[in-house]
């Protein structure tokens, strides 16, 4: 996997961008090459499938210009593969900026794509998917084929989103990738911060730091408040087993373990990168649509 170097300035929220492709696979022998591009409010991913199998992906921050972000995402996914845009038979755009993917054949909502991608990543026993994105949080219930049965979404408030976590990484000068693990190093779980609002939680956390609380304890108090907030969303949709978490925050063990604790339910594990669920679902739709087109 290749990574872009993190800029020299201390930006603790800035997570590492990366790409990957399977060198053991030969795209030239694939019958159908499909791609999914997920332009989120914070991050963008591109996934390339060869006959429905994962071949390459990229994950990077969304820029100010959605079409440019889409181009960058797919170009980076294809890097060192010798593949060009013309080689891809069908591309589906998804996410917040899905209508701004210039080379896409179709746009599909991120709810449908997450359910479809989650179904491949976690297997067909998954019934409830919690997608914790950069600026929203979705609870999705789906059937064994990855079809959406019900969903609820919070896109109004930063509590429990990746952006809210980035704010805290910066406040505490802790790299975003380490925030979750550090929050789990407390000997005793503190009371959660009382504010759900990220802005107020930030002032509360600053006051706790001034009182002499160590950073891990402040993070634990914040993570458990955010986990609680997300659980209230999940409870409204009625969690059915198996349960899985997708999105960037699925990588934050501090949040995941606290959600599991409150739900008294373990979430499924996967070898896939949890952030590519939407793009993977989009690429799976692309694969099916191309098959249909050829009939």
């Amino acid at each position: 996997m290749s990574e872009k170097t993190v800029s020299e300035t201390k930006e603790f929220w800035r997570w590492k961008e990366y790409r990957w492709h399977d060198e053991s696979m030969d795209w030239k022998s694939a019958a159908i090459i499909s791609a999914g591009v997920d332009i989120g409010s914070v991050s963008s991913q591109a996934v390339i499938l060869l006959d429905g199998k994962l071949y390459a992906f990229s994950n990077q921050r969304t820029g100010f210009d959605s079409p440019e972000s889409a181009n960058n995402a797919i170009t980076w996914a294809m890097e060192n593969t010798g593949m060009s845009l013309d080689d891809i038979h069908y591309t589906v755009g998804t996410g917040y900026g899905r209508v701004n993917v210039p080379f896409a054949d179709k746009a599909i909502t991120e709810i449908a794509c997450h359910a479809r991608g989650g179904n491949m990543m976690y297997g067909n026993t998954v019934r409830t998917i919690l997608d914790m994105g950069g600026q929203d949080c979705k609870a999705i219930r789906c059937d064994e084929r990855g079809k959406v049965e019900a969903f609820l979404m919070n896109d109004k408030c930063a509590a429990g989103t990746g952006r809210g976590m980035e704010v805290f990484a910066d406040l505490l000068s802790i790299p975003i990738e380490e925030v979750g693990d550090i929050s789990l190093t407390v000997e005793e779980e503190p009371d959660p911060v009382s504010s759900t609002c990220v802005v107020f939680a930030k002032s509360e956390a600053s006051a706790l730091l001034r009182e002499g609380w160590p950073k891990n304890k402040v993070l634990a108090a914040y993570c458990s408040a955010m986990a609680h907030r997300v659980v209230t969303l999940l409870e409204r949709i009625d969690v059915v087993k198996d349960f899985a978490i997708t999105g960037g925050i699925a990588k934050n063990r501090g949040i995941v373990s606290r959600i599991e604790g409150e739900l008294k339910l373990k979430s499924l594990k996967t070898d896939y990168d949890s952030q590519i669920a939407g793009a993977l679902g989009a690429a799976l739709f692309g694969q099916a649509l191309e098959k249909k087109r050829r009939k």
Partner: protein, 254 residues
């Protein structure tokens, strides 16, 4: 009878000294880390302005978020009670008080006699409070004091999609990158706060006259947005940030 009212807010501490319903002196300091020290400082400043000693104060009432931690008195009044009394003290005809502070907003409806009929408040979300304006002023690389006058020069309304202050900050940055004029962004920010406040006001209803108090009332761009949103002229009393402390001082003499 000389009385004192202290309003210990999230961002600032205010003290008003009054004698028989006349204001003798007032002072304000940032709440900082140590609210006890800030309260001491604010009271001492007001006393020295009035040329009084502390034991001249016959009755003392505390209000605001931090009223339970007041070092001078354990007598307290809720923010709603203080806002109602203070607003009536400066605007006899007042039937609706809208109080917008750094981390809270509330709307209080009064009857003819100034008795509280109903109220609504928000202390959970920064979107309807001064904290929102401060965060956006930072994103615009200006001060919260300059935000209002800047907004008043705007001739074009741009919509703000984000409600959350954290998301709105990214939206402001996007708008800056899209070369949206700064004054239009400033107006969008203040319109957004006003729209959150107005939906709270509508929950309890409102009746003339309407007084807007609290530190955010000092922002002319916010008041302009309130006038447009409520389709009427609201009243902003002189020194609107002191009205809660004034209410406490007036209630202390009753």
């Amino acid at each position: 009878m000389i009385t004192a009212g202290i309003d210990i807010g999230a961002k600032t501490v205010k003290v008003v000294l009054a004698k028989d319903n006349e204001i003798l002196a007032k002072s304000i300091t940032p709440a900082g880390i140590d609210t006890t020290a800030a309260s001491e400082k604010t009271l001492n400043e007001a006393l020295s302005r009035a040329g009084l000693e502390r034991d001249a104060i016959e009755n003392f009432l505390a209000t605001g978020t931090g009223r339970k931690d007041c070092p001078f008195t354990d007598k307290e009044v809720t923010e709603v009670g203080a806002a109602a009394r203070g607003a009536r003290g400066v605007l006899e005809s007042c039937r609706t008080v809208i109080d917008v502070g750094a981390e809270e907003g509330r709307s209080v409806r009064l009857n003819d006699e100034g008795k509280v009929l109903d109220f609504a408040f928000n202390e959970k979300c920064a979107a309807g409070a001064g904290a929102f304006a401060e965060a956006m002023a930072r994103a615009l690389e200006t001060t919260v004091e300059e935000l209002g006058p800047l907004a008043l020069t705007s001739e074009k309304a741009v919509p703000m999609n984000a409600q959350c202050a954290v998301f709105a900050e990214s939206e402001v940055v996007t708008l800056i990158h899209a070369k949206t004029p700064r004054q239009d962004i400033a107006r969008a920010v203040l319109d957004a706060i006003a729209s959150r406040i107005i939906s709270m006001v509508r929950k309890v209803g409102f009746e003339k006259d309407v007084a807007v108090i609290g530190g955010v009332a000092l922002n002319p761009g916010f008041i302009d947005a309130m006038n447009r949103g409520l389709e009427m002229q609201v009243h902003v009393p002189e020194d609107p940030e002191y009205i809660g402390a004034l209410g406490a001082a007036l209630l202390a003499s009753e």
